[in-house]
């Protein structure tokens, strides 16, 4: 097909709207025949239309039968939104094009119908696509597929969801050799890397970079009241935020976690004297509630919406003219993308305000503003494709019918992230899927996959296909429980809370969900029953939320800021706070390591300001607590942020120098890799994705931990009897790359070169205070637990008047 311009019908339609197609939209049309095409455009740049124009132009000719274009987005909501947005031009141009979405929310009947008679355009998510490829009839359903559009590919490229998607695309490409791939991405630091993931390896991928538009109008919100020393609520800023909401048409108020969004929304309502229509939107809310907010937003009924990353990606919310980011942005790239949500008009500057939640975040916000101004985006390179996702893909492939190992290997290595996969590594994964891959060959008779006489692999028990599909997916959500209002016949669903949080509730406790305070009444059939209650101060729901880590670059900017004699660019309160820290203790320096030691709440605390990023600080926490355990200091746990690690235990550390001996730390690495809870957490994720642990079984959901034993037992067993098992290797690799990040510890140790300053104080310091409120505390099992249990046992028996 020759490169083409805008068909007359489309030209007329654009003209009737008084619009003109953007240059990059026309360019995408001209390059419609490219096997692989990546478009980088800022938010509001008409990216999605650019992606769909060639499809619509093709389909307008009316000759195509069956599925033409598959659209994949990271969010269910985005798929629904795009469906709405595509409908308008299609209907107005009078095109007969069937557009449908397919997500976890689509009904079973609808899903079945789609497999039999697919629409022209199917909008879906990576998870739903992976499932689609696992059906025997996949080749029939996808026959004739011309194009795949991966929207917001920059977001998918950062996670295992992206790896899963690219493996599914490799599968699709085998079914439809002529399929063309299109990626749509927001502004990123390294377009080449994303292009490498998108293209069929080793094919090239065209990159088209649209005009980035004018610089955003971005500032830090100035308030009369100073932010607190710690905490993430930003309650102090409520009046100022309310004033901004009143001044603007529609404001998006972003938060880093769901819990923070809930608290902020609650406080905003209390301050909402004019009863402005304000909504809340996050991933733990019930779908019906979310859809109601989305619809109100589209109609322009809402003046503000308090949200989390669930609104991060390009849903078109109409006339947003202000974006407020509450809490430190953590990452400059993400900040720029969020800011782009304001003013969805191309070539108009977006307006944004940063609201630091505490004084440390003031520093971070100022550093981020400087980075945005300098167009200094940050990014990290991801390693090779994870093998747990590979295992899941092999199982899904088996569910769709018999396969030949060599052909599957070839197919999988055509996904960029797996291009370097060796045949031996692939065979390991296949063996794991088939037999469990244990040194002790126990399951010859009960293999999951069996090799037929003709050499093809297939499921031993065809019924296993349903179980495999039920457990597909790479998103590791903590187990959640549904929350409902208590009624005689099942009350209104409100949303979900984490199982661990639910377990901590006793009847009468109150918590926030969807902006209202509810009272916990009890647990019924794995549903949390609550009643409305507006009188008590809420306990806070602990949603998992997404935790971003501050980029290296931003950390370095902060350290440099600390070194200034004074801080004219910071508000007085924050400059005062830094001065106070300097007076009471010291400020961290780039070439020294500051370590503070102080008692609090009956424990001894050690705060290590390594500024090495969350993962490395986490590893440091693990290594240090292990050393402390050996030294008899009875550590109990730690928490890490991007700039520091706080360790608590029963005894104080007198001399930190032996703790930081580089050789000892490195030697400790292997030892602790074995037995800590972070490894167990990593293992749990990998084992679930790889299909060793089933989250869902055909029988109804089991009653949580009572019926099943924990993945920790499996980890301990493998560690003892089969430490080199594939899943243990995956766990180690993943930990080293993601959670461990030992390279940055090395870098930090080299930077400080033994210059360690221990400051002993009798109370918490200004800089360490925020750490006490961090979530994600890691517990350390050891001597401390035995000592505490002995104490408690003695006290309990004494209180109860019991003796032996």
């Amino acid at each position: 097909m020759a490169p083409r311009g805008l068909p007359p019908l489309f030209e007329t339609w654009f003209a009737s709207k008084g619009w003109q197609a953007h240059p990059h939209q026309l360019e995408m049309l001209a390059r419609a025949d490219a096997a692989c095409q990546l478009l980088i455009a800022p938010t509001g740049g008409g990216k999605t239309m650019a992606g769909f124009l060639p499809t619509l132009a093709d389909l307008a000719e009316g000759a195509h039968q069956g599925l033409h274009t598959l659209y994949i987005s990271p969010l269910k909501a985005l798929a629904a939104d795009i469906k709405r947005n595509l409908r308008t031009p299609v209907d107005e141009m009078g095109l007969s094009i069937r557009i449908e979405d397919r997500t976890g929310d689509t009904s079973q009947t609808r899903k079945k119908a789609q497999r039999v008679d697919p629409p022209h355009i199917l909008l879906t998510t990576p998870e739903s696509l992976a499932l689609l490829t696992s059906y025997e009839d996949a080749p029939r359903m996808f026959a004739g597929l011309q194009r795949v559009i991966v929207d917001e590919i920059h977001a998918l490229a950062e996670s295992k969801r992206g790896d899963q998607l690219m493996l599914a695309l490799a599968r699709l490409q085998s079914i439809c050799p002529g399929m063309r791939r299109v990626g749509l991405s927001a502004t990123v630091d390294k377009p080449d890397e994303i292009a490498g993931l998108l293209a069929r390896h080793p094919d090239p991928c065209d990159i088209l970079v649209a005009d980035p538009g004018p610089d955003p109008d971005i500032a830090m919100l100035v308030t009369d009241e100073p932010p607190p020393w710690s905490g993430g609520g930003a309650a102090y800023a409520i009046p100022a935020v309310m004033a901004e909401v009143k001044k603007h048409k529609t404001t998006l108020i972003f938060h880093n976690t769901r819990a923070q969004a809930e608290i902020f929304f609650h406080n905003l309502w209390l301050a909402n004297e004019d009863s402005l229509p304000i909504g809340i939107h996050h991933g733990s809310l019930d779908r019906v509630q979310r859809e109601r907010v989305e619809a109100a937003m589209v109609r322009g009924d809402l003046r503000a919406i308090v949200c989390t990353g669930s609104l991060d990606l390009g849903i078109d919310w109409g006339d947003v003219d202000l974006v407020i980011q509450v809490g430190a942005p953590k990452n400059v790239k993400r900040l720029v993308q969020r800011i782009g949500r304001a003013n969805h008009r191309y070539n108009a500057p977006s307006k944004a305000l940063l609201v630091p939640a505490n004084r440390f975040e003031v520093v971070e916000c100022v550093a981020a503003l400087q980075a945005v101004e300098a167009h200094d985006l940050d990014g990290e390179t991801r390693g090779p494709g994870p093998r747990d996702v590979l295992c899941q893909h092999i199982l899904l492939r088996a569910a769709s019918g018999p396969f030949e190992a060599g052909a599957l290997f070839k197919e999988m290595t055509s996904a960029g992230a797996y291009a370097g996969l060796s045949r031996a590594a692939f065979d390991d994964c296949l063996d794991f899927c088939a037999t469990g891959g244990y040194a002790l060959r126990a399951y010859d008779q009960w293999q999951r996959l069996q090799q037929r006489p003709d050499g093809q692999w297939q499921l031993r028990d065809p019924r296993a296909a349903a179980r495999i599909r039920m457990n597909a997916g790479t998103i590791q959500d903590t187990d959640t429980l549904k929350v409902r209002l208590k009624r005689s016949r099942g009350g209104k669903p409100l949303g979900e809370i984490e199982e661990g949080f639910a377990a901590s509730l006793t009847p009468g406790d109150t918590f926030l969900i969807g902006g209202r305070i509810v009272r916990y009444e009890g647990l019924r059939e794995m549903t949390v029953e609550v009643t409305r209650n507006a009188t008590r101060k809420p306990k806070i729901a602990t949603f998992m939320g997404t935790k971003f880590s501050t980029s290296t670059q931003l950390s370095q900017r902060i350290l440099r800021l600390f070194q200034q004699q004074d801080w004219p660019e910071l508000p007085d309160h924050t400059a005062d706070w830094l001065r106070l820290q300097r007076d009471l203790s010291r400020l961290p320096e780039p070439d020294r390591l500051l370590v503070e030691s102080f008692p609090r709440d009956g424990r001894e605390n050690l705060c290590v300001y390594g500024f090495a990023g969350r993962n490395a600080q986490q590893t440091l926490g693990l290594l240090l607590t292990k050393r402390m355990e050996e030294m008899g200091l009875a550590p109990m746990g730690f928490v890490a942020t991007d700039y520091a690690t706080l360790i608590w235990g029963l005894d104080a550390v007198g001399d930190p120098v032996p703790l930081f001996d580089p050789q000892a730390l490195r030697d400790g690495l292997d030892g602790w890799l074995a037995g800590n809870s972070l490894m167990k957490r990593t293992f749990r994720g990998a084992a679930t994705i790889a299909g060793l642990i089933e989250r869902n079984t055909p029988s109804a959901r089991k009653s949580g931990r009572q019926a099943t034993f924990s993945s920790d037992i499996l980890y301990d067993t493998l560690l003892k009897y089969d430490p080199d098992h594939l899943l243990m290797r995956i766990t180690r690799d993943e930990a080293m790359r993601g959670l461990v990040d030992f390279a940055r510890i090395d870098e930090m140790l080299a930077r400080i070169d033994g210059r360690i300053d221990l400051v002993r104080l009798d109370h918490v310091t200004p800089l360490s205070a925020p750490l006490f409120l961090e979530v994600g505390k890691v517990r350390v099992d050891g001597e401390a637990e035995e000592r505490l249990l002995a104490e408690e046992s003695a006290a309990l028996m004494r209180d109860a008047g019991l003796t032996m």
Binding site: T435, G436, Y438, L440, A442, Y443, Q445, W446, Q447, R448, R460, D461, R463, A464, R467, G602, R603, M636, G691, L692, I693, E694, T697, R705, Q706, A707, T708, F709, S710, I713, L714, T717, L718, K720, Y721, D722, H725, R779, E785, E786, L788, L789, A790, E791, E792, S793, L796, M797, A800, L802, M804
Partner: protein, 220 residues
């Protein structure tokens, strides 16, 4: 060997940190809910292929307890196998291992709900075993006394000064003791569950397993 002594119906018993019960006077070691062959059963039924080491791990711990106590009698309190087919599927070396453990001592398999039939391994097979003043059976019977049972896999959760600790535990009162599950691949039932609260007297106590067994009031 760490253990915590207590009395039931006048018999002096010791709860071992491993989860086994030791009746020194009669030289009896009692363990419950070994669930041997659990991973084999899961794979057989089309589930996942769990690390097939739990039988080995359970037997190692049992062997340790036998070495320390040199018990003359071993009573396996039911659910020793995850199902009857798992008995047949036991690898030859594990059968030999069990035979070695049985050598020179009396061995009793009590019938459980997972393994209701006779087990084709050495030792005697009984629905229950009265050894006055005590009776050994798999599932506790309300109203009985001097009873040793298992089945429920009890565990308790204790709020210490700074942390919540949850572990498998013995539950006991003046009528009975319920043993924790001894098998490696076993979950637990909280002592706060209605089934356990209904069986145990209000003043019941719990002994948490672990490096050093700990006595606490049974959390209800």
């Amino acid at each position: 060997m760490t253990g915590l002594p207590f009395t039931l119906a006048g018999a002096q018993l010791t709860a071992l940190g491993s989860g086994a019960l030791w009746w020194e006077e009669r030289s009896i070691l009692c363990v419950s809910d070994l669930h041997l062959g659990k991973s084999e059963r899961m794979a057989r039924r089309g589930g996942t292929t769990l690390p097939p080491y739990e039988t080995q791990d359970t037997l190692i711990r049992l062997e340790n307890d036998l070495q320390h106590t040199n018990a003359g009698t071993v009573i396996c309190l039911g659910d020793s196998f995850d199902d009857m087919a798992a008995v047949g599927a036991l690898p030859e070396e594990d059968r030999l291992w069990i035979s070695r453990l049985q050598a020179g001592r009396r061995w009793v398999w009590i019938e459980g709900n997972h393994d209701p039939g006779p087990i084709g391994l050495g030792g005697s097979h009984l629905a229950e075993l009265p050894l006055p003043p005590l009776t050994f059976r798999h599932i506790a019977k309300p109203g009985k006394s001097g009873e040793i049972s298992g089945h429920y896999h009890p565990k308790v959760k204790v709020q210490t000064r700074l942390r919540t600790v949850s572990r498998p535990a013995f539950l006991f009162d003046s009528d009975r003791v319920i043993l924790p599950a001894y098998g490696t691949y076993t979950g637990g039932l909280r002592s706060t569950d209605a089934a356990l609260k209904g069986l145990m007297r209000k003043e019941a106590r719990a002994i948490m397993t672990g490096q050093t067994p700990r006595l606490v009031a049974m959390p209800r």
